[in-house]
């Protein structure tokens, strides 16, 4: 069983042009913890997730994942991190199965495509080009992509967006599965009730700082 990643950061800051999206934030997350990230639009939730995903480099402060410098060691850390952002990372011309197959092959894992599609309820539509899919279906497929590998740090940016009631159950199920396998999970959300009942630690952001 994979253990989760530990996260430690001090004074994390990141600017975009004239704006500080994160303006000096400290984070400490233990392996296997479930963190709920809240805060109004533009408070820095997505930026924090992208920093944790090593998609961005911090302009100030430092960030360590498992004790390693996040940006410096990004090629080693990345295979163990899954970021579900607003962008799905899918190709519209390919079918659902082809999309997952492409991602699986690029990581060298045996394509366990059908099982993943069944898990997110898309196996009946697996042969259709996903340009015919609804936003919710694409969202499910995007989640399935991230579970082709077992992540040790899962970062979910408003995972329930565009999902129906069943989809939300699905997300909830995935999060519980991740937690029970020891993965560290950070979920940015506007709806606290999404994580009701789970042992979640809440972090609130405001203007790029801890609120």
């Amino acid at each position: 069983m994979a253990t989760g990643m530990s996260i430690a950061g001090r004074g994390l800051a990141r600017r975009f042009g004239p704006r500080w999206a994160l303006a000096g934030l400290d984070v400490d997350i233990a392996p296997g913890e479930l963190i709920g990230l809240t805060g109004p639009n533009g408070s820095g939730k997505s930026t924090l997730l992208r920093l944790l995903a090593t998609a961005l480099r911090a302009d100030a402060g430092w960030l360590k994942l498992d004790g390693q410098d996040a940006w410096g060691e990004r090629s080693e850390l990345r295979p163990a991190i899954a970021l579900a952002s607003h962008a799905t990372g899918l190709w519209d011309d390919l079918s659902a199965a082809e999309n997952l197959g492409v991602w699986a092959r690029m990581s060298g894992v045996a394509p366990d495509v059908i099982a993943q599609l069944r898990r997110v309820g898309l196996d009946p539509d697996r042969r259709d080009p996903i340009r015919t899919f609804s936003a919710g279906m694409k969202r499910r497929l995007a989640l399935a992509r991230l579970f082709l590998r077992r992540p040790r740090l899962a970062l979910l940016d408003e995972p329930s967006t565009a999902l129906d009631v069943n989809g939300r159950f699905l997300v909830r199920g995935l999060i519980e599965e991740l937690i029970s396998s020891g993965t560290t999970v950070v979920v940015a959300t506007h709806h606290r009730e999404e994580l009701d009942g789970a042992s979640v630690r809440w972090m609130a952001l405001q203007d790029g700082r801890a609120a």
Binding site: F16, G17, P18, R19, A23, G24
Partner: protein, 224 residues
């Protein structure tokens, strides 16, 4: 914007004095060119512009490589300032080349290898500056323009070589050995004049680039 430094003012002053003296020498002291007559005097603008545009591009390339290794924004400011100076000098070289071609060969443009490669070089660096103008994030702008500057500069020799092979019919490159020593002296004198003006310009250009950067980047964080 920061006020100009003493060195910058001095470079402009020296450059201006040298330029006036140099052009006086070029217009009144040096005897007319044997083959081309009075028209040949345009070479005293053309050749220094050609030399110094290459110097400016070289500085830009060095600063771009420096930026890619260190990530220091001041390197980017130097790179853009010298690329701009290079483009202006390069334009001057093309314009004077064209003015020179008309009375000499009866055409406004000649596909001479050096002139043609300079035109290509000019377009390449204009492209770099245009790319800068469409990227809004200062960090990304600096990186992308460094990448495109490196590509543009590294391409210069192969461009020159291929164009020369394409047009291997033109006049042999004049070098100091085949020229009158007075002419060489004035050419070098004027080149120094332009060099000092270039240095002054680099100072100004760096200050402008720094102020644009400061305006478009968030101010340093105050401690919480």
């Amino acid at each position: 914007m920061r006020p100009p430094s003493k060195a910058e003012r001095a470079a402009y002053a020296i450059g201006l004095v040298l330029l006036i003296v140099g052009h006086g020498l070029a217009l009144f002291w040096v005897p007319p060119e044997r083959m081309m007559g009075e028209v040949g005097r345009i070479l005293y603008v053309h050749v220094p512009a050609a030399w110094l545009s290459l110097v400016a591009y070289t500085i830009s390339f060095g600063a771009a490589v420096g930026f890619l290794f260190t990530g220091r924004r001041s390197m980017d400011h130097t790179a853009v300032a010298s690329a701009e100076a290079g483009v202006v000098l390069n334009a001057l070289l093309l314009a004077t080349g064209s003015l020179f071609a008309r009375p000499t060969w009866g055409v406004w443009w000649t596909w001479d290898p050096r002139l043609t490669s300079s035109a290509v070089m000019w377009l390449t660096f204009v492209g770099v500056l245009l790319l800068r103008s469409v990227v809004h994030d200062p960090e990304r702008r600096a990186t992308w323009s460094a990448v495109s500057t490196v590509m543009a500069y590294v391409n210069i020799p192969i461009t020159y070589f291929s164009v020369q092979m394409w047009r291997s019919i033109h006049q042999v490159q004049s070098n100091p050995g085949t020229m009158d020593s007075d002419m060489v002296f004035v050419l070098r004198f004027n080149a120094f004049a332009v060099l000092f003006l270039l240095l002054g310009w680099l100072g100004t250009g760096r200050r402008i680039a720094a102020s644009i950067d400061a305006r478009e980047s968030a101010p340093p964080l105050e401690s919480p």
